[in-house]
């Protein structure tokens, strides 16, 4: 019996796409900014919204009244920042990790927005609270940047190749989750549950298993 209750609880705990399905699709590009000591200092995130959501935002803001799919520079200036008014508890749907350690990121800054090909693309910059060493041979843990919405209202993908700006001998690659493996992890987490496990703490790791991610490493400087 507890298993059924647990199942309901787990599935609604938020991380898995349980009682939600996406209504907005965002294609993400991740640029990692590296200093000359091969430490990552910031991420520039680019979000390209799906056609409908782009149309919805542009229409709602009264931009592009002639519907030619182009905005004037003034209109783009008005559009800029439309998605940057974040609630204090919104994590930006970007999660940076090194090994198992989550890395703190600043609030967004230096944002832009453009409208082209019937899609809005916005960019913003987020700094790491502390520079992240990328060529620590002893550690040899890549910087991982994941893009996902824990509530699964937005479906993120990372179709664009990641970019590394600066540093020496650094490279970044995108990893798409093995959905079967992620499902297995979820089921394993369900079957291994014991009452003393803190679900809130344990569960996001399973949810992140469904996320696409960028991994960044540098050779020794």
């Amino acid at each position: 019996m507890w298993r059924i209750f647990l199942l309901g609880g787990l599935l609604t705990a938020g991380a898995a796409p349980a009682l939600a399905h996406p209504h907005v699709w965002i294609e993400t590009q991740i640029e990692v900014i590296v200093n000359d000591r091969n430490e990552a200092t910031a991420l520039r995130i680019s979000w390209t919204y799906d056609d409908l959501y782009s149309l919805y935002i542009v229409g709602d803001m009264g931009l592009d009244p002639d519907w030619d799919g182009k905005l004037t520079p003034e209109e783009e200036a008005r559009l800029s920042g439309f998605d940057m008014d974040w609630d204090p508890d919104f994590a930006g749907d970007i999660y940076a990790l090194q090994g198992d350690t989550p890395l703190a990121l600043s609030r967004p800054k230096d944002w832009t927005a453009t409208y082209a090909g019937e899609k809005i693309t916005s960019t913003h910059l987020r700094s790491f609270d502390a520079p992240v060493p990328l060529s620590d041979v002893a550690e040899a843990k890549p910087l991982v940047v994941q893009a996902y919405d824990p509530g699964y209202y937005v479906a993120y993908s990372i179709p664009f190749d990641p970019v590394v700006t600066g540093g020496a001998g650094c490279s970044a690659a995108t990893f798409v989750p093995d959905m079967d493996e992620a499902q297995e992890k979820l089921l394993a987490a369900l079957s291994e549950y014991t009452p003393d496990v803190d679900l809130e703490a344990e569960f996001p790791a399973v949810g992140a298993g469904f996320a696409e991610e960028v991994r960044v490493t540098c050779s020794a400087p």
């Binding site: 709602d60 519907w67 509530g151």
Partner: protein
């Protein structure tokens, strides 16, 4: 021993059904998502075509709305959990449950229309105000109603279990027939009534009426609980069409979306009733009577926990 086997089997059936309902076992998830994404883009294209006044654009727009509704309902969602869970937990005729599923899909569209037109068109509020109100007030009320329905099922189930324990203390009577079972439960609100081994006298019209009242209240709660979580797709379409000056096309589009959603929720309703009746038919009558409160507690618990999770998440 046999009872343990039965309950395990039932549990497995429920867990399997739940996994299916919530999409955790859904091998088609990726395919569905691609479909939803495609419908999203097509909807944008259809609205653009409407704007430029292409021939046949309206019919194409409504067709895409219907498809959008079907695809979004086919993914995991609260409506299917509630309809399916309720259909398994309570013995409800398939026609009525299907009707409730259809009603809740259309009511969901009506809520979206009311929200957009009351707030945007009449009060002149912005899109983000509508989204905020939908997320901060309307949806939580719906979640609270669903949680209440789940807790009520649990409460009924616990009452049934207690009565069963009390009955077990007396001599075992003949196996209960299905009609008896129904009356037995609904009668539980009369504390003075004592069940004898032959419960024939209990089936007066007042009990049937009481059952109907409960069903009616359940139905209203169910429909309202589902409807009060307006679909974002409908909000997008309504706001866009309003700005384009083709409000009526958008309102009809929202209801067509609701009909698309209903195709799936009605199917879930039918499957839930079928699974329940099928599982019970496979069991000896006496065991069925004993399984009912267990199922009520389990499914009520799932619905309550899920709704409370949504409620906490939406606050």
């Amino acid at each position: 021993m046999q009872r343990a086997v039965m309950i395990t089997g039932l549990g497995l059936l429920l867990a399997g059904g739940l996994l299916w309902l919530t999409g955790a076992l859904d091998g088609l998830a990726g395919w569905l998502q691609a479909g939803q994404r495609g419908a999203q883009d097509q909807l944008a294209g259809a609205i653009r075509a409407l704007r430029s006044g292409e021939a046949g654009a309206l019919a194409a727009f409504w067709t895409v709305c219907f498809g959008y509704g079907v695809l979004h309902a086919a993914g995991p969602g609260h409506g299917k959990l509630i309809i399916g869970g309720y259909g398994v937990a309570r013995r409800v005729p398939v026609g009525r449950l299907a009707g409730l599923a259809l009603a809740s899909s259309l009511a969901q569209a009506a809520v979206a229309v009311a929200l957009v037109y009351a707030l945007v068109a009449v009060l002149g509020l912005t899109r983000s105000a509508v989204e905020g109100l939908a997320a901060d007030w309307v949806a939580p009320v719906g979640h609270a109603m669903i949680a209440g329905l789940g807790l009520w099922l649990v409460w009924r189930g616990i009452g049934g279990l207690r009565r069963m324990a009390a009955d077990a203390g007396r001599a075992a009577g003949p196996d209960h027939g299905p009609d008896h079972r129904h009356g037995h439960h609904d009668h539980s609100h009369d504390p003075h009534h004592v069940h004898g081994p032959d419960c024939g006298h209990a089936h007066g019209p007042t009990i049937e009426e009481a059952a109907r009242v409960h069903s009616f209240r359940d139905g209203v709660t169910l429909v309202a609980g589902i409807a009060l979580r307006p679909c974002s797709g409908a909000l997008f379409v309504l706001i866009l069409t309003w700005q384009l000056g083709i409000a009526m096309a958008g309102v009809i589009g929202a209801f067509v979306m609701g009909l698309g959603t209903a195709t799936v929720t009605v199917a879930v309703a039918a499957m839930a009733v079928w699974a329940r009746e099928g599982a019970f038919a496979a069991l000896p009558q006496g065991r069925v009577a004993r399984a009912i409160p267990v199922v009520e507690v389990a499914l009520g618990g799932v619905i309550a926990v899920a709704a409370l999770g949504l409620l906490v998440g939406s606050l």
